[in-house]
């Protein structure tokens, strides 16, 4: 059964908390700057974009973990959930900054924008899709949902595509930053989909030939 199978090294709680805390430093730092008038002329916009950028950065890290392992570079799979949750927390802060600091909780304005502007619809869709992924990022959900869990969490590739489009649209022109990060998201997302498809194909052909190569999804 999944939980008893492994020669998997689980990271210590301390490690995971440390990653989370360090991962939240960019947000904390800029929040402090913004609250103390150190973010320049348009602090809310700077903070909003900063949170979006770091969310994208952690999403790139999360998506890069599997290919890095497959290429034999480094195996960080045990930290992937933590990075994925950082993506979620940055998305929460990004959306909250938009609603509270930027739009001043003007719900009519928010509703008007997110229902009519593709830029915001795409971003919001990415956020909404992230929520169930974050909510099921625990061992209990993995056990309870079984195969469904794997299917659900493939949604991260859709999140990558949506986030990439939203990120591109956040710039008035195509810039090195916007195209670079969007390309990273698209390529890593596509690589993930390809890996899944090939893996499923192989598994259908002969499950016995590749034992335990991906313990998390073969259960």
């Amino acid at each position: 059964m999944p939980s008893r199978r492994a020669p998997v090294v689980f990271p210590s709680r301390l490690e995971l908390w440390l990653i989370t805390l360090i991962g939240l430093v960019p947000a904390g730092l800029y929040f402090w700057y913004g609250a103390h008038n150190q973010l320049g002329a348009d602090p809310v916009n700077v903070f909003e974009r900063w949170l979006g950028l770091w969310g994208v950065r952690f999403l790139v890290v999360t998506l890069a973990i599997a290919p890095l392992r497959d290429l034999g570079v480094i195996n960080l799979v045990r930290y992937r959930r933590t990075f994925g949750l950082l993506v979620f927390w940055y998305a929460v802060m990004h959306v909250a900054t938009y609603g509270v600091l930027d739009q001043h909780l003007d719900l009519r304005a928010v509703f008007g924008e997110v229902t009519t502007k593709p830029f915001l619809m795409v971003g919001l869709a990415a956020f909404v899709l992230l929520c169930p992924l974050a909510a099921t990022s625990n061992r209990w959900s993995i056990r309870t949902l079984g195969r469904l869990w794997g299917t659900l969490h493939r949604g991260v590739y859709v999140v990558a595509a949506l986030a990439g489009v939203h990120f591109l649209m956040a710039f008035k022109t195509y810039t090195v930053t916007s195209v670079g990060y969007a390309a990273a998201l698209f390529v890593l997302g596509a690589a993930g989909v390809v890996r899944r498809v090939r893996h499923n194909g192989r598994r259908r052909m002969s499950a016995a030939n590749e034992p335990m190569r991906r313990p998390k999804t073969t259960g």
Partner: protein, 313 residues
């Protein structure tokens, strides 16, 4: 409405204007006697004449006006222009005014200084990106300059061309996000002749910093900021609507008219309100409702009588 205080104003406004003038003369005398006055609005070097073109809201702090700029010739980020414009030389400078005019002419900045008395106007600036400032500009009405060259009857539009100097402007050296250089903007002739339309040579009483469009830029307060071409080298009167930079780049996002209009959204965001720029941190950051024609409707709405502003955004 009536955020603008033009000559026909109420008594209370006149009082505050007198206070305003007094403060200014105090500052001028202070500077003259060598007192160092640490005010953001210390009398500048341009000796601009005060005018009644002003707004009720306080001017955006000078530090924000001069560090938060869209000037793609110097880079894409708001902080790039102040960082990357140090090697730009706004002197010597000439601007050619020609096309469908009776007296085409090339003006040096000294010519302009001799011909056009400098006055101060405090205008709202509304960026198409939904933020706004209040800026004390120094300069002269464009109509006065056009009067010198005498537009011909078949001139219908005015095209403004910014300088092309890839050596001094890193943003013009190509790259992914590059626009088509030189930057071109345009106005209809009647818009150009409107008394509000302004050629700025300074802000806050001093010559324009490089990052704000030195030495000469256009200011059209009822239109989105990108209409205000910077570092202008040529003004051409033409018969047909000029091909303007942002409009050619993304016509569905940036119209030729680009009048500030809270009811016509940008495809990616609402134009109904705007973030007020000012060094105040998160919790002092303001948001205000965007006004039709940026609050200048009384002066300019008649220019567009009968026009569908949804179609001609």
């Amino acid at each position: 409405m009536a955020r603008l205080r033009l000559p026909a104003v109420s008594g209370s406004d006149i009082t505050s204007r007198e206070a305003w003038l007094n403060r200014r003369s105090f500052l001028v005398s202070g500077a003259a006697t060598g007192l160092g006055i640490g005010s953001a609005r210390a009398a500048g070097t341009l000796k601009a004449r005060a005018t009644s073109y002003t707004v009720k809201d306080p001017p955006t702090p000078r530090v924000d006006v001069t560090t938060y700029n869209n000037f793609y010739e110097f880079g894409l980020d708001k902080g790039d222009p102040v960082q990357n414009s140090g090697g730009f030389h706004p002197e010597p400078w000439t601007v050619r005014v020609d096309g469908l005019v009776r007296q085409p002419r090339t003006f040096s900045m000294d010519d302009l200084a001799a011909l056009m008395p400098v006055e101060e106007r405090i205008y709202r600036m509304r960026c198409v990106e939904a933020w706004s400032m209040v800026i004390p500009w120094d300069g002269f009405a464009l109509a006065a300059l056009l009067g010198v060259v005498e537009p011909l009857g078949d001139a219908k539009y005015v095209a403004f061309e910014s300088v092309l100097r890839p050596d001094e402007m890193p943003g013009q050296r190509g790259g992914l996000a590059s626009l088509d250089w030189p930057y071109v903007e345009g106005l209809r002739l009647d818009e150009a002749m409107n008394p509000l339309t302004f050629m700025a040579v300074g802000l806050y009483g001093d010559r324009l910093p490089n990052q704000n469009g030195a030495p000469l830029r256009l200011v059209v307060p009822w239109k989105y900021g990108f209409k205000g071409a910077k570092s202008i080298v040529r003004i051409r009167l033409v018969a047909d609507m000029p091909r303007t930079t942002w409009h050619s780049m993304a016509p569905e996002e940036y119209g030729f008219y680009a009048n500030v209009n809270p009811t016509v959204d940008h495809p990616r965001w609402s134009q109904g309100s705007e973030r007020v720029i000012g060094s105040s941190g998160f919790f002092g950051a303001g948001r205000r409702t965007t006004e039709m024609f940026n609050g200048y409707g009384e002066q300019v709405a008649s220019l567009y009588a009968g026009m569908d502003l949804r179609r001609w955004y």
